[in-house]
């Protein structure tokens, strides 16, 4: 590392700071709770070729997705005439998008009239039209999920802020004020990125900044290779399944065959279930992001920058026509469910290679829950919740309770904020669920429950979740975690609903969602008695649970 290298390292830090600042602007000035609280968005700096050089740490499922979208856009567009006010806009999941809700916008960065890179970001829009507000669980084809925007070359000043594209898109959306709020926040984030990058080029010279981008990628590749090289060479296969899709009643399997060879990897998904005619297909970009994140979250080196070089060493093979790479036109709205099984399958395989480094299965799912009310005076109220669950145990690690899943980092919306915005609902409970963890030498984390009462008529519930049938699996002798459930309580009646459903509620109904915990790692008989005692004291587990799984702890005098 020479003095020049120091300079490059400082520039790499500066570029990362720009991506983070873009992220902060997007989140703080956005309008929807999905962007401002759940942070379902990402910001990035790309080099002139469209490789992501730095991506803000916001949400793992967007990892690598932006460059997929950029490549698909380049294939469809003529970019020879672009200028400072040009932008590329898209949401097409078959052109590198993830699902229609994610609006992606790239803008070029010029320094002294030379293109030095791009800035870009993606944000989840609350509603994008289609057959259902927020979500259309009945969709059998992509078109029913909302407006499709193929990669478009637009002019920001001409086409947005009341221009033709702006008007067209938001005429197709149920909550245009919120949508525009988020969209303009996306453009504001890009503008900041452009200014900062230009400033950097002015201070350090255009060529050095471009050089630093390339070096950042090479540097990341070196770190990634060193990290992967800690896994022994070999080939292992793992699988995982989702409960079922909307129409079917059978589990859908994801199969991953992982081959590690001297710091490189092949992830082959041959054997995975065929695509389905419902929203549970995982778009290609989502599957790629899930696969890379699955590998990253096991690596000991936690500070590897998030950029395209992470993907260089991982060859991901997604057979076309399967639920991890559906053919054009299939719906993908709930793609995250299968994306999580991509992660689980990879972990199942790598658990055979490095058992001590792979946790038992966490709840590893996102529950998307919507309460929609058409207002008598027009307009739509959409309450949206994005929830995680418990984490899996691992050696020296009891799983975390009630946390956004590993592909997500969604913040929950304050209840006091929800009740301000939505006076037609009241939160009755938001609490950990006792005994929902899998027992083990290292236990899983607890799941949690939400009980929401609707105070008015005409509210429609729609949601998707996971693990209603098949629980998160324990590892190395650890026990499975509890399953999730959704019940609607109507007076004395309790209505049990499946993994995904749509239901019109009545005033006074209580929607009670329970998400699952994480599974346990290692034989419960080896759990230290004092840890059992502490879990009991804290009320995390009941005495019955403790007696059933940790009988040994009762032999010691400490547990009564």
């Amino acid at each position: 590392m020479s003095a020049d290298q120091t300079k490059l390292a400082i520039l790499a830090n500066a570029i990362r700071a720009i991506a983070n600042e873009m992220g902060a602007i997007l989140v703080r000035s956005a309008f929807s709770t999905i962007v401002r609280e759940a942070r379902d968005c990402s910001t990035a700096i790309l080099d002139a070729h469209g490789n992501v050089v730095s991506q803000a740490e916001m949400i793992p499922i967007h990892n690598g997705g932006l460059s997929e979208a950029f490549r698909a856009s380049v294939a469809q567009l003529d970019l020879t005439t672009i200028g400072p006010t040009s932008a590329i806009l898209l949401n097409d999941p078959y052109a590198g998008g993830q699902h229609l809700n994610d609006f992606i916008i790239f803008q070029p960065v010029f320094a002294e009239n030379v293109l030095i890179g791009w800035v870009g970001n993606t944000a989840h829009h609350l509603d994008v039209g289609g057959g259902g507000a927020g979500i259309n669980i009945d969709a059998a084809e992509l078109l029913q999920e909302g407006i499709v925007i193929p990669p478009l070359l637009i002019d920001v000043e001409r086409d947005l802020f009341g221009g033709a594209i702006d008007r067209l898109i938001f005429a197709n959306v149920r909550t245009p004020d919120i949508g525009r709020g988020d969209f303009y926040a996306q453009v504001a984030a890009n503008r900041t990125g452009i200014e900062r990058l230009q400033d950097l080029a002015k201070r350090h010279g255009r060529d050095l900044v471009v050089h630093a981008m390339a070096e950042t990628l090479d540097y990341t590749e070196r770190r990634m290779r060193a990290a992967i090289a800690t896994i022994p060479n070999g080939t292992w296969t793992g699988e995982a399944c989702i409960d079922a899709d909307v129409r079917g009643d059978v589990p859908l399997k994801v199969v991953a065959t992982v081959t590690v060879a001297d710091g490189t990897m092949v992830l082959d998904f041959t054997g995975t279930a065929p695509e389905v005619r419902s929203m549970f297909n995982s778009s290609k970009s989502s599957s790629l992001a899930a696969a890379i994140s699955a590998v990253r979250c096991l690596l000991a080196d936690k500070d590897i920058p998030a950029n395209d070089a992470c993907n260089r060493l991982i060859d991901i093979r997604l057979p076309e026509g399967t639920i991890v790479n559906p053919r054009r036109g299939r719906p993908v709205r709930a793609r995250i469910a299968v994306s999580y099984r991509v992660l689980d399958a990879i972990h199942e395989a790598l658990g055979q290679a490095v058992p001590d480094r792979v946790p038992a299965q966490g709840f590893n799912s996102t529950t998307g829950l919507y309460l929609v009310q058409e207002r008598p005076n027009g307009g739509t109220r959409i309450y949206a919740d994005v929830l995680g669950g418990g984490y899996g145990g691992a050696p020296q690690y009891d799983g975390a309770h009630a946390l956004a899943g590993v592909l997500s980092s969604s913040r929950n919306t304050p209840i006091e904020s929800i009740e301000q915005i939505h006076p037609h609902i009241r939160m009755l409970r938001y609490a950990l669920v006792q005994d929902s963890c899998g027992a083990g030498k290292w236990r899983g984390g607890l799941g949690f429950a939400r009980a929401i009462q609707v105070l008015e008529d005409n509210v429609v519930l729609s949601y998707y979740s996971e693990h209603f049938r098949y629980p998160p699996r324990g590892k190395a002798g650890g026990r499975d975690a509890a399953r999730a459930s959704l019940k609607v309580i109507r007076g004395d009646e309790v209505i049990d609903l499946p993994t995904t459903a749509l239901m019109t509620l009545q005033k006074g109904d209580i929607v009670q969602l329970t998400v699952g915990g994480g599974a346990g790692w290692g034989d419960p008989a080896e759990r230290l008695a004092e840890l059992v005692e502490r879990d009991l004291e804290q009320g995390l587990i009941t005495p019955e649970f403790a007696r059933a799984h940790y009988a040994h702890a009762f032999k010691s005098a400490r547990v009564a």
Binding site: M1, R196, R223, A227, L403, I415
Partner: protein, 665 residues
């Protein structure tokens, strides 16, 4: 006569003003096991005439340490039925590292079994939808008391709107156990967002008995020595408050040390006629950077301590893990990293000779020639250059030792420059018109290089930069912040309501309780505003009596454009909180003494390494620079607690005030 005492990790600094207005300084080792002892030692050491003291201002890390080490009171929490796990669930997001399957949440400052649910409910507009079940509540309180809980926090849903149930519970607890400390969220942090409000209230209850006990002891010790004036405590907002208020407002003391330093920096800038400053305070483990346009430090309404969000008014500060003890490493990709890991004070940098073997920033400064082994700390501490070299030899990167050291210093400067950009550029402020004010042990050594990186042409190194935080206590104003949630659309009617509720009157009542006469203090009022639908608000300071919704909207939108680059003129604006700040200016007249100029012969020329080049620099004592005298870089100015680097193309001038002004040619 006024006194300021600041307790740091290693030293306790005392500053007082004698009857001629001249500052006297004392420095004694801190006494971590009996914290208040160091204050008394410092008082004795500096021979402070305690009987004449009219104000004794104190800054302490007691609250911060109690929280970080989780050594607070046995605390209970009463919460609304259904919401026992507000703290454990937290924000449900993953901060710091999103790529991990092994996430650890922040440790709750309250045991889950001492979180008890109370049947009651208030809705979002403040209406009671379920009455308080007093019978059941009594049983829950009894359970806490039976289990030895000595401090109880009460945080109920929507209590920022209607605190009646909290107040009733408070009375109930005090009736059952008059010695138990009770804190209500509607008093401690009357803002919406239940997680942040609960954490703030619980942390307040957790540390407050520790703070009260500490202040009682200190107060007793000072009184026994004849001090009759009221003790004053530093807060994170940069102002002091009376010590008796600290118990109920313990969270306001968190991270107050750096705030005192910023306050001092504005004082030094003012006396040199400088208006806009960015401060850079480099200590042993980190560097704090803050911004004060027009000498008004920017504030934020939330602090993060040990991953817990605390709602309290604090100076807007960016902290980077770049201090004298920060360790340099090479990562697996071959890039150099400096910090955040630190060798701290023990074992400290390798050159301290206390057993440290890892290469640190101070070692780099020594190897690059910026520090002279025999001149450090006025010669009272000998630096071991061989140990520093051995540490750098172990850093696996190519090049001479001096090159490696230079790379480390460049990296540190880069990290600090990034922090300066975060508090300025990222907040819509162009730093190039600002003056950097550098203090703390290491600030003056890096400031000019950092300034160069961000395009700043002027650096102020105040008098005695090693004790700037303690000096801040001496000159700090009394400053108390009040807040009340509103959550209403901004209209003529709601603005009238805010005026009627009048936090300014609350300030007046508070001032009267302190015995302050009208006219001896100022009251500022403000509103937190956002577009309806946004999740974050911007604070606008205005005279509420004389403003209109239109005028407020204009101010808000200007601020919004500055921060986010756009406005949405067709959307309604919402009032989130009303704010008020009581300020009583400290009119103290202070003269900072200057040491006598010694003969020029003490100047020497030695080689230093700077940005890859070896250059000959003038080394001299800072005190050798006479009033109005200028020295051209490259030069190194030494004084007991710090060293100032004047790079090539920069000059340093001793101002009439005695402060040092570095300017780029």
């Amino acid at each position: 006569m006024q006194v300021g005492v600041e307790i740091g990790g290693t030293f306790t600094d005392l500053v007082w003003v004698d009857d001629r207005g001249v500052v006297v300084v004392g420095k004694v080792p801190s006494t971590p096991s009996q914290v208040h002892k160091a204050v008394e030692n410092a008082v004795d050491h500096a021979a402070v005439p305690l009987r004449q003291v009219t104000r004794f201002a104190h800054g302490s890390t007691i609250a911060t340490n109690a929280l970080i080490t989780r050594r607070g009171a046995r605390t209970g929490l009463l919460t609304t039925k259904g919401f026992r796990d507000i703290i454990e669930i937290g924000l449900h997001d993953r901060v710091g590292n999103i790529y991990t399957a092994f996430y650890h949440k922040p440790r709750a400052p309250v045991d889950r079994r001492f979180i008890r649910e109370i049947r009651e409910r208030v809705d979002g507009s403040g209406h009671v939808v379920e009455e308080l079940d007093e019978e059941a509540a009594r049983r829950e309180v009894q359970f806490l008391l039976d289990n030895g809980v000595t401090s109880i926090a009460i945080c109920l849903m929507h209590a920022y709107r209607n605190g009646a149930h909290e107040e009733r519970l408070r009375e109930m607890v005090l009736a059952m156990s008059p010695t138990t400390r009770v804190g209500c969220s509607s008093r401690v942090s009357p803002e919406f967002r239940e997680y942040e409000r609960t954490v703030t209230t619980v942390v307040n209850s957790f540390v407050s008995p520790v703070v009260v006990d500490y202040i009682d002891r200190l107060d007793r010790g000072l009184t026994e020595r004849g001090c009759r004036s009221g003790l004053q405590i530093m807060q994170s907002n940069g102002g002091i408050m009376p010590a008796e208020a600290a118990g109920d407002n313990a969270v306001r003391m968190l991270l107050s040390g750096p705030a005192a330093g910023v306050q001092a920096a504005t004082w030094f800038a003012r006396r040199n006629g400088i208006n806009d400053i960015i401060t850079i305070d480099m200590g042993g483990t980190s560097t704090d950077v803050a911004v004060a346009p027009m000498l008004e430090p920017r504030v934020v309404q939330e602090l993060t301590v040990d991953d817990l969000p605390i709602r309290t008014t604090a100076l807007d500060m960016v902290t980077v893990g770049a201090g004298g003890g920060s360790i340099a490493t090479l990562d697996s990709g071959g890039f150099l990293n400096v910090g955040p890991a630190s060798a701290g004070a023990e074992p400290g940098p390798a050159c301290y000779g206390r057993g440290g073997t890892l290469p640190t920033v101070t070692d780099a400064q020594l190897i690059a020639g910026l520090l002279r082994p025999s001149h450090f700390f006025a010669g009272r501490m000998k630096l071991d250059i061989e140990a520093a070299k051995a540490a750098f030899a172990s850093l696996p990167m190519p090049g001479e030792l001096a090159e490696k050291a230079d790379s480390v210093l460049q990296m540190v400067n880069g990290n600090m420059a990034a922090a300066v950009r975060l508090v300025s550029t990222a907040r819509g402020i162009d730093p190039r018109d600002f003056t950097l004010v550098a203090y703390g042990g290491g600030g003056p050594l890096h400031a000019a290089m950092v300034a160069g990186e961000v395009g700043i042409n002027q650096v102020l190194v105040p008098w005695s930069p090693g004790i700037t935080s303690a000096f801040g206590l001496l000159i700090a104003d009394l400053k108390v912040d009040f807040v009340k949630a509103r959550l209403q659309a901004l209209t003529d009617e709601t603005l009238a309501e805010v005026r009627a509720a009048d936090l300014a009157a609350t300030c007046d009542r508070y001032a009267a309780s302190l015995g302050l006469t009208k006219g001896s203090y100022d009251v500022q009022t403000g509103l937190d505003l956002r577009y309806a639908g946004q999740g974050f608000e911007l604070t606008v300071w205005v005279e509420l009596a004389q403003t209109s919704p239109q005028a407020l909207r204009t101010v808000f939108e200007n601020l919004h454009r500055e921060r986010y680059g756009y406005v949405r003129s067709n959307l309604p604006v919402q009032i989130v909180n009303a704010r008020a700040r009581l300020t009583r200016k400290n009119e103290l007249n202070v003269i900072t003494p200057k040491e006598n100029v010694s003969p020029r012969a003490s100047r020497e020329t030695c080689d230093i390494v700077l940005r890859g080049k070896r250059v000959a620099a003038t080394f001299m004592a800072r005190s050798d620079l006479d009033f109005g005298e200028t020295v051209s870089g490259p030069a190194i100015l030494e004084e007991p607690t710090t060293t100032t680097l004047v790079p090539p193309t920069w000059t340093a001038r001793c101002c009439d005030s005695g402060d040092l002004l570095l300017e780029k040619k």
